[in-house]
Symmetry: D2
């Protein structure tokens, strides 16, 4: 039987919708199993500073539908040092916390893994990031909400694009991975989608836009991931296209941070609830160094080091669907 | 090689968000493969009446984000007769349509199967129903959107519930299956969820509500599927609870048809796009009598007769999560 | 110069979106003028029980966009008695509260007026109700948000109505006044609108629906205020129409309490902010027994007794517009 | 009696939500009075090219809730020449159009006025622009919707701002007028609002941000109109603040074109419906060269030349409210 009596929960890295729902789930699962739960403010930095708050089932009411994270998030350079991590360990021990649930992405998990190796402290990870770039789960927390936010905004942009027969380049998040761009692009009916995983090539882009114009399309949306393979940012793309296709009037929209916010979708709320239960129960069963995830529609766990090293792959079938849709 | 030259597409049964996106996908995939496509109005009834419209890539622009189905849906008693189906067949032949994609649920697929057996006419099914009650796909078209609609509305109801310390019974769709109630209930943070698959029992409901009150919860939401096992409708539940727990002020909200409408979520738009491609490509490969579906995150096909006879199962793990969350 | 040192603020009656924003404004205006502010929980009942909380500028952060009222609302039979009001007065005096801002509707203002007359206690009213049935302001707090909620829902219902060529009766709030029904009805493009102020007559309704069908309209929405003049509720209307116009397939949707919830619109947030400032400044100027309001786009005040006795009038021009729109 | 038999309607200039609803209203009012109506595509350019479409009551169904303008909008250099306007006149005469309703802003009305003076052609204007910068109406079409869009997005940005204790500069539309910035800023609870009408001064901005930090505010939103008086764009402001207040981590978000799109609010739909009726009825009464508007909650008309020359004034009271709210 587990000897865990008090679990600490924190959010770290970029915030994502569903983090509050995940915290709530961790807290309520602790209450269900009659163990204590402490919230750790501002990620690893708050851990070092002992910035904790005692949380019971009532303290997390009314947050399942709130964006962001009420425990806040922060970067911590101090946690990258041995001394910082020692301070964090001491603070946890002083507060009688004997296991951790960390909610975040790659960087968060790397920190947790090192911390576990140094202090043999039980840790479980919950993947919370809008980028969906973690191996070991089909969906990270917040990803589904972000997709809905992005298609909503592009729907609005299309209203004005089609009123004026314009071409829009819309930049969405995704420095290394194109999941948001590809899915939201298909969802919003984008004519072209530029992602880091594929080199469409400028020539093909021009050709596609030219064909689009000829086929009678009056307006076009091109969705561009921040880290698109073409290597031009949206403003350079605008200039390039206007130079080469003067028949187009081009506009740019950079969606930016709004993509991180908003009330989580039902999917993200349910996923957060399931993940929180699984994380706490895994700790209580004596497990550690795992990330909970959704695989084949079921809750599952993946070793943290695998989750970190793994590479999320772009859905090739969906690229093909995208091509067919912009016929 | 396929000899299919013209595919007919129709929607039938209750409408669901994403149906327009699926029609668009079927039409554009036909355009991509340079075959013709005809829209069939009002389901099997329009098929009988030869109410067709020629559709090309441009005719489906601007519909990916629209709720409902522009091809409309209808019941057809005539199609239940041999004579009706013969008329439908004659109309298809007269219009040179040589294969069908039908978008709908159980009843739609049953009709398609009989039609295929009688006339050896190639048919493919796309599961479009908000209830998610079809075997062979983890998600039916529209289900994800409906969940978001329902949690949005319950979020609003909770605003007023918690302002007045009230108990609300919220009835959601689901005569035979509790997927909407269970998932939206967890997503909305409902205190109890009553579904057709489980007999919670009136005693446990009362006890749970009593405990809730004692634990300091000031307001409560109980989500009830139309076909809950307890066998009382929401208004009877209200009376029963008010009689037995006079400390509660109870209100009822029946969400009704709004659950079917609205702009589809990104998930449903992407799913619709993938399913349309898969359905057309399956026909072109010479397949028939299959339903396309999402299984383990991948496009797959299931024999129509299996899809019809199968039983969608409630997620037991999620019932447990729901119990833990209402701690 | 005013001798007011501490203002109490409370919400009472049915909650409406924007109440939190109004509380925030009252609190911040007090902070701006360096006087204290106390929140009174659960309206007059909390006043009697001395259920107060000290509020400063920081305690109301993050609530401008939240529906409902965090101070909660409740009915109080005790406040209808002289003894109850005496208790309330004693509690206020004990807490050094020397003036009141009450946010609510008719009933709330009546209570405030009596309280002022008995104890000469300074009171100011802010009209917070979704019904827009208060004289002395063109808009009550929450009304604009509710209109947006209602048209959003009817937009969804129309998706399914037009997919199936159905007629929907949609019941919206408004027992004595038809403002919500008339405005949301015009905004949602309803074919007919039944309100308490006008007797359309059943014959005209039938005739209009018949004409609608003949003119090729495939689906229809009829918006019905709870207190429509025809005197039939939506379910009776459904039966009546189905009996007399069998060509129609009729459905009913009762929107209910969701109309009260949701994040306030920008208009309601701005209005709440303006009203809170005006209410506090009026008290500080030594005024009392007034309701703040928006008249001709400007902040103004109306004696509370006029606001109570007044009758809000339906916009006849808009009834005419509605008729023309359903041509 | 009027001899007008056919009215042309067009949209011109930047599109705004509610334009479709206004077109619908013009069309239906024509139908009501049994006169013909023609839609003119792409504003004055389409008028020159005779790009017209006959519109009856049924052709505008289902558009009241759609953003953008289905008649499209465009700039026309040709219409700035005498020859261009002559062509336009000839095209109108050839199509038997004998009066115009133009929906747009300043530029649109200027064109209409010149056209009327040259050809004595009856014209009425409907103010459609998100900027609310037209004299003679308290609200232009689309303004209310844009405010809701902007506060929605800033709500999302605040989720991530407060999760990370960051300062955000959010740029909203408004080159010459600060209505959007001021109202959406108050509605979103912005700490500071920079508008073209007021020179807040960089020093005061820094001081206010410093005070904000000291008073314990963990995150801040500063809303900046495109044409803010300070004369720095949002990126320059970010650099300036980061240099002078290194304790702040600053982010920038430029909302851009999404502000123009989206389904119109109930207010804008109702306003559009009222304005369309008023515009057509004014023409039928023999009036011309007027803009319809909402003044003191009532439909009214203003001479087009006054509307053009007038200056919309910022609401000084609201600036004061904004200051008090950021206490």
């Amino acid at each position: 039987m587990s000897k865990i009596k008090k679990i600490g929960v924190m959010t770290s890295g970029g915030d994502s919708p569903g983090m509050n729902a995940a915290i709530r789930s961790v807290v309520r699962t602790c209450a269900f199993y009659k163990i204590e739960c402490a919230g750790i403010y501002r990620g690893y930095q708050g851990m070092i500073e002992g910035d904790f708050i005692s949380l019971d089932a009532r303290s997390v009411k009314g947050i399942i539908n709130k964006g962001g994270t009420f425990l806040k998030s922060a970067r911590s350079n101090e946690f990258r040092t041995k001394e910082g991590r020692q301070k964090a360990y001491d603070a946890l021990i002083a507060a009688n916390i004997d296991a951790l649930v960390v909610i975040g992405g790659d960087g968060t998990f790397t920190g947790a893994l090192i911390f576990n190796q140094e202090f043999n402290f039980p840790v479980m990870g919950i993947p919370g990031t809008i980028d969906n770039d973690i191996t070991g789960t089909s969906h990270t927390l917040g990803y589904d909400t972000t997709l809905n936010t992005v298609v909503d905004v592009i729907d609005k942009i299309r209203d004005t694009a089609s009123s004026h027969n314009r071409l829009f380049f819309v930049e969405v998040m995704g420095r290394d991975v194109g999941h948001i761009a590809l899915n939201a692009g298909v969802g919003a009916g984008a004519e072209e989608i530029l992602i880091p995983e594929e080199d469409l090539g400028l020539d093909r882009l021009l050709e596609s836009l030219k064909r689009s114009k000829e086929s009678g399309k009056s307006s076009s949306i091109v969705v561009v991931a921040e880290g698109d393979k073409i290597g031009k940012n949206v403003f350079e793309l605008k200039d390039y296209v206007e130079e080469n296709l003067p028949e187009y009037e081009v506009r740019v929209s950079v969606l930016g941070h709004m993509q991180r916010g908003g009330s989580p979708s039902c999917f993200d709320r349910v996923l957060a609830s399931r993940m929180g239960v699984k994380a706490v129960e895994s700790l209580l069963e004596g497990q550690s160094n795992l990330m909970v995830g959704l695989l084949n529609e079921k809750m599952s766990v993946t070793p943290l080091d695998k989750a970190i090293k793994g590479q999320s792959k772009i859905n090739k079938e969906l690229i093909r669907v995208s091509d067919i849709m912009s016929t």
